[in-house]
């Protein structure tokens, strides 16, 4: 399984403090959604993408592919917002069917454009964080925000177990395919179900092995990880402040 944070390990921005990156991403995200302003969305989209591609060193093609992931939802959701059904015509009438008019209202297009840009801009802000920060460091940021210890611990373990299980699953699928599983719809359902069931059994066994291993290393209800200290440089703070001032100015000055 190709996860987004596999790119984060190769990012040139890995050396920057995860807390700082999270703060900038969260700030841009909140600006986007709170302001709901066309030019802020465009600015955030362009700047955040530029940061990820230039400073992070992610190839542009890969970045665009990642931006495409929620496309299906975006198109369907926006179609549902823009198209209206009504008993009497208004706006631009597309066609008349069974006594109903299917229309697009005059401001519908503008609203849709603003919404699509806002969503993609918000996505680019989130990507700036997750394409430069491995998930374990994101969890570290949550820990600093005083999220309950139990929650953090579960997150750390689930993150690790996801990869353990994906590996096991891949082997099982290979075995099933080489024995004519996943051949048509019926066998696919059977292979999928039995390999998922088997995966669950294997994972329960592994869970108890992992617990024994943790207890053997003095686990008493708290997982401690060695985290790298990454300091925030003064120029980074100044750059971030300038960035948010520009966003604020756009919000106040551009109609």
């Amino acid at each position: 399984m190709e996860t987004i944070d596999s790119y984060a390990y190769e990012s040139c921005m890995r050396g920057i403090s995860p807390g700082f990156k999270a703060a900038v991403a969260a700030g841009a995200l909140l600006f986007c959604i709170g302001a709901n302003h066309l030019w802020i969305s465009i600015t955030v989209l362009l700047t955040m993408s530029a940061v990820t591609v230039w400073f992070g060193g992610l190839p542009l093609i890969k970045y665009l592919k990642l931006l495409k992931i929620p496309l299906g939802f975006l198109i369907l959701g926006t179609v549902a917002i823009v198209i209206e059904f009504s008993a009497r015509p208004f706006g631009y009438v597309l066609f008349h069917w069974l006594g109903y008019y299917v229309c697009v209202s005059k401001i519908g297009g503008v609203i849709a454009l603003k919404l699509v840009l806002k969503a993609i801009a918000a996505l680019s802000a989130m990507y700036m964080l997750v394409l430069s920060t491995p998930a374990s460091e994101v969890i570290g940021v949550l820990k600093h925000l005083r999220v309950p210890k139990l929650f953090i611990e579960l997150m750390h373990m689930i993150y690790r177990f996801i990869f353990v299980m994906t590996g096991t699953q891949r082997l099982m699928k290979q075995a099933a395919v080489s024995r004519l599983g996943y051949n048509d719809f019926r066998t696919s359902c059977r292979s999928f179900g039995s390999s998922a069931g088997n995966l669950f059994v294997v994972s329960l066994k592994k869970a108890s092995t992992y617990y024994d291993a943790m207890v053997a290393r003095c686990y008493d209800g708290e997982l401690l990880f060695l985290t790298e200290e990454k300091k925030v440089a003064r120029w980074q703070i100044i750059a971030a402040l300038c960035y948010f001032t520009v966003l604020l100015l756009i919000f106040l000055l551009v109609p």
Binding site: G34, I69, P70, I75, F85, I158, F192, S194
Partner: protein, 249 residues
């Protein structure tokens, strides 16, 4: 072509594009940035009591048996992996289960609320399905509403002496359908229709997502039943130790 025909062509093309380019039908995660700020906060706040209940129930079971922490974590990872796998589908597009119905039947709805929100965070930051600002809304529909309905239907069917696999199928399918309805209503509240208000908007969202979500719900039901069948064959002792299926065996 007359003007009317032209506009019909335009609409038809738009529809064909909308259904043609959908790369994969995930369960309905509302994408990052799609909800206005007020709704993000409101849905997050609605989730808090359920999450708190889940948190305390997990804490209690950990106090009784510290060892269940790795089992819980494995279960969370299981839900994530199951929901990230391509599932067999009739239409040929690749689609995915939610896996939360299965989780609710196996571990109970309150534990699934906590596991569900963690899975949703990872889906957002590892797979870009859903988002951080829409986490509250997605948690409510996928980790709270769906699992609670699944669990309720499963218990109801069992007490009515319905066949076990049929109850699992119904629970998972209806839980999935309920998730889809809740998400549509969440979107409708945020974007009410200009002519018909929230109700008309909900119908629009329901009908737009129906072609991907209805088959998905049925497949989710079938697969959950097959998984439970496999588990009962291979893992009855483990299931019993977790409190599942006291009436079996």
């Amino acid at each position: 072509m007359s003007k009317k025909e032209k506009s019909i062509m335009k609409l038809a093309t738009a529809f064909a594009m909308a259904f043609g380019i959908i790369p994969s039908a995930y369960a309905m995660h509302i994408m990052e940035g799609y909800l206005p700020s007020g709704y993000c906060i409101a849905w997050g706040a609605i989730c808090v009591p359920f999450l708190a209940a889940g948190f305390f129930s997990i804490k209690k079971s950990l106090r009784e048996n510290r060892k269940s922490i790795t089992i819980l974590a494995m279960s969370g990872a299981f839900i994530f992996v199951i929901s990230s796998l391509k599932i067999p589908s009739v239409t040929g597009s690749c689609s995915h289960m939610t896996g939360t119905g299965l989780g609710a039947i196996l571990f109970g709805p309150s534990a699934v609320s906590i596991l569900g929100i963690i899975v949703l965070i990872f889906q957002a930051i590892l797979l870009a399905h859903g988002g951080l600002t829409t986490l509250g809304a997605n948690t409510f529909s996928m980790a709270i509403a769906g699992p609670f309905v699944s669990f309720g239907i499963y218990k109801l069917c069992r007490s009515l002496k319905v066949n076990k696999l049929v109850s699992v199928f119904l629970a998972a399918m209806l839980g999935d359908l309920f998730t889809y309805c809740v998400t549509s209503i969440q979107l409708a509240f945020a974007y009410p229709s200009e002519v018909g208000g929230v109700g008309a908007s909900a119908i629009k969202f329901l009908s737009v997502f129906a072609p991907t979500q209805l088959p998905l719900a049925i497949i989710e039901g079938i697969l959950t039943a097959v998984i439970i069948m496999a588990l009962e064959t291979y893992a009855l002792p483990e299931l019993k130790s977790m409190g599942f299926s006291k009436e079996v065996g």
